[in-house]
Every structure is written in C-alpha cells, then in structure tokens.
C-alpha cells in the first residue's frame, strides 16, 4: 500500500481529499511540518485556505526546507491553492511563493463572476501521466478566484474555458497541479487521484 502525506495548513476541510486517497487504496497521514520522518512516497498540498498563511505554514514552521523534503523525486500534487503556491508570487498575498515554477498567480478578471464555481470541461492539450484514461472534455469541479500564469506555457497539460482560458492542469517534473478539485470531481477526479498514486508507487 502506498503511503502519502497531506500537508495541513490548519484552516480547511481536508477530509474529502483524505477520503478520496483512502478509497483509492492509499495510506494517508496528515502532517503539519516537514521535520518528522519522511517515509512518504508522495505529498499533497490541499486546496483550502489563503495564500499567505498557507505559505507561512509550509515555509516558516519547519526546520526542514520544502525543496529538501520533496527533492526532485517525490511526486507532489498541488490542488487549487496548493498548485498556486508552486509559483513565484500571487495577487492573493504578499508572501513569496515556493518558486518551483516560474510565473505568477493572478485574480480572475473583474468582469467574470468570482469565484469560478462549478463544473467545467477539461481541454486536454497534451498527454501527461496525470490524465491517463481521462477523456478530452471531461467535467471537473472548480472553485477558485485566481488563475496561474506559468512563464513556460508548455507546462499546461489542460485548460478550461471560463470566458477566459484557465490553466487547469500543470505538470513540471515531479510536480503536478490542478486548479480544480479532483477529490470533488466524481469518477473523473478519482482517475486522476489514482494516476497520481501510481506515480507515487514508482
């Protein structure tokens, strides 16, 4: 059984994500720092909370550095805010992001309804381990106010149309990010959770 960790920023519902991983046969621990034993095959940064407090809880409350903990091998899945933190900065906060991916996170345009909330289609732009078995046009559940802008747009695996184009899935080395919530996206979301866990097993 594959063992993964969910990092808990301390302010949100991570119950559904934990349940979804467990349903797909993972053993899940919830961690609040990177200082304890690192015997996990994968790490998940959940999609609840606010940018600054979440970044601080990851960066400031552990003696171990995030980059050292993860290295270039451990698969990391960032969901919504979790993915936004991969970038250099976000309009949601003042803190620096984790800086794993070059680019920034910006607020959705004011003329749109914010948050972008509900089920939208994935336009799959290229193959990726995370979308194996997921058909182009599949429905996933979004709830977010910001979108990511990677400098290298080749990292975008799928996007979604909300009047403007919203990057929906990002892949960069061992980092996977989804703007939507796979744990709330029914069967399709479950496929992506399984794909991620398969990467963790490798």
């Amino acid at each position: 059984m594959v063992k993964v960790a969910i990092f808990d920023y301390g302010a949100g519902n991570i119950f559904s994500l934990k349940t979804s991983l467990e349903k797909n046969d993972a053993e899940v621990d919830v961690i609040t720092s990177f200082d304890k034993a690192n015997n996990y095959s994968g790490l998940l940064l959940p999609g609840v909370g606010n940018f600054d407090p979440a970044i601080k809880s990851i960066r400031d409350y552990s003696k171990t550095d995030f980059a050292d903990y993860v290295s270039d091998k451990k698969p990391v899945l960032g969901i919504c805010l979790g993915m936004e933190m991969f970038f250099e900065k976000s309009e949601e906060g003042k803190e620096k992001g984790l800086g794993v991916i070059d680019g920034e996170v910006v607020l959705l345009p004011h003329e749109m309804k914010i948050p972008h909330m509900g089920w939208n289609n994935l336009n799959i732009k290229k193959q990726s381990k995370i979308v194996e078995g997921v058909k182009d046009g599949s429905w996933v559940y979004f709830v977010h106010s910001y979108r990511v802008k990677p400098k290298n747009t080749d990292l975008i695996v799928a996007d979604s149309d909300y009047g403007i184009t919203v990057p929906a899935i990002i892949e960069y080395g061992n980092f996977f990010g989804t703007q939507f919530h796979p744990e709330k996206s029914g069967k399709i979301g479950s496929i992506m959770i399984r794909n991620f866990l398969r990467e963790c097993k490798k």
């Binding site: 349940t19 309804k113 709830v143």
Partner: protein, 267 residues
C-alpha cells in the same frame, strides 16, 4: 463549452433524518440522508445541500456525525446549513467534511461572522442564504418593484421565514458579497411550496446586482421551471427538493431535459 449550470437537490434533515414526503421504491430507508446523498450523487447531481431544520444545540453532534458520513460516500461538493450562528459551529461543520456552510439568521444577526469565516476558510466555503418575501408596505430607501398595479420591495426574513427583518434583500445581497460571501442561496418565500416556478423577478434582480454565484430556490414543480429560470436570468444554479423526491424526475432525467432545452449541464 463553458461553465455549466448546477442542479442541486436539497435535503431537509431533522434529527439526522431526511424529512418531507419521500417516495422511493429503490431505497429501503428513504429517510437515511447518507443513502439519499449517494443516490443523488450517482444520478448526476452537481452538488447537494443539507438543511438541518431542527437546528438546535443538541443536534449539533448529530449533524457533525452526519456530515462526516456523507463526506465518506460522495465525491461531489456539499453544503450544510440550518441554524448555523457562530464561527465555532461553522468550523465544526467544515472540519467534519462539508465543503461549504450556509448561514442565514446567523448572518443577519451577526454579519461579521461572514467575514470571519471567509478569512479562516476562504470565501468559497461561505454561502449566505437569503429568504426574501414581497412587502407591499412601501418604505423610503427600499428598492421598489411592481407587478401589475401592485408595488412592493423584497424583505429579508429569518428564523425559517417566520420573522421579517426590515432589511432590503437586494441591498443585503450586495452587502454580504462585500462582507466576504462566496455564494448566495436565494429562496423566494412567495414561491416556495407553490410548485409554480422560481421567482424570476427576485432572482434576476439579485443576480444582476452581485458578481458572486447565486442559487435559485423556491417554487420548482417541474423540470420546465429550471429551464425557465436559466433562460430568464443569469443564475448559476437551481435548487429543488420535491421534484427529486419522486422517481419520475431523477436528477439525470431532469438534466437531460435541460440539455434539450438548450441549458449547458454536466451529463
């Protein structure tokens, strides 16, 4: 394709059991909210809303247990509301596994709870439920509308529609958006229970005045009513209870009907 319209079955819960007339042959225990949640989820519901109509202190533990049971069986978002008054209560519900919490009376009595919740959990978790009713006693400073020769304004009601607040619903909606609400669950007391269709005027007015998503509620008696409200307003979601409580209108069939009517839905 773009964002779809959401279809949201609503389950009224009392003492941990679903209440109101339910007629299911396929479910042995129609009153079990967990079984119903699973059924609706499998049928293609986009979200679910649970409203605890008992909502007293003693039932808080029951609700917490229920929320975590539901969270275990479904993989779509769900909202829990009914009698949520304090930050602590909302926190209990969210940490038990709900995705959003709906507040109504609690928000009117203590509007800062909206902001506190938003700061802690993010605005996507905060649904403000507004129950509105036409008031024909015109007052200065209220947004006034007319139907035929009758003039009125929309008043916010609390305590399950029992008590008027003197608040103008349109202004209150704008206010809750400013305070940090991520969504509005808008129920028309005038239409609720009539099965004559959603309240087009009320829904249009609120949807046009805020830029957060709005869920229309109250009055749905058949799938045509959903098509109507989506065509006549830019509302994001439609809530219904009774039409899903009969197997002739499964969620899936309702959505197929909507699709034929030109409404973008997830099928």
């Amino acid at each position: 394709m773009t964002l779809t319209k959401r279809i949201i079955p609503c389950l009224d819960v009392a003492n941990g059991r679903v209440v109101k007339g339910l007629h299911f042959s396929s479910i042995k225990d129609a009153g079990d909210p967990v079984l119903l949640a699973e059924k609706y989820s499998k049928e293609g519901a986009d979200e679910l809303i649970f409203l605890d109509i008992t909502a007293s202190q003693e039932h808080r533990e029951t609700i917490k247990t229920l929320v975590s049971k539901v969270a275990k069986v479904i993989d779509i978002p769900f909202t829990v509301g009914g009698g949520v008054k304090t930050l602590q209560h909302a926190r209990d519900i969210l940490l038990s596994g709900a995705d959003k919490v709906a507040i109504n009376t609690g928000a009117v009595k203590n509007p800062e709870v909206i902001t506190e919740l938003m700061e802690l959990f993010g605005k996507q978790c905060v649904v403000v439920a507004i129950d509105a009713k036409r008031n024909y006693n015109l007052e200065k400073g209220k947004n006034t509308y007319s139907e035929g020769d009758k003039k009125f304004w929309f008043e916010v009601f609390i305590y399950g529609g029992k008590k008027g607040t003197g608040l103008d619903a349109v202004d209150w909606a704008k206010n809750v958006e400013k305070l940090g609400a991520g969504e509005i669950l808008l129920t028309s007391i005038d239409m609720d229970g009539t099965k004559d269709g959603y309240d087009t005027l009320l829904t249009k007015e609120i949807v046009n005045k805020v830029s957060i998503p709005v869920i229309a509620s109250g009055g749905c008696g058949k799938p045509e009513h959903m098509v109507d409200i989506f065509k006549m307003s830019d509302v994001d979601a439609a809530l219904a209870a009774s039409i899903f409580h009969y197997e002739t209108h499964s969620v899936n069939r309702v959505k197929e009907f909507l699709k034929k009517g030109g409404i973008p839905v997830r099928l």
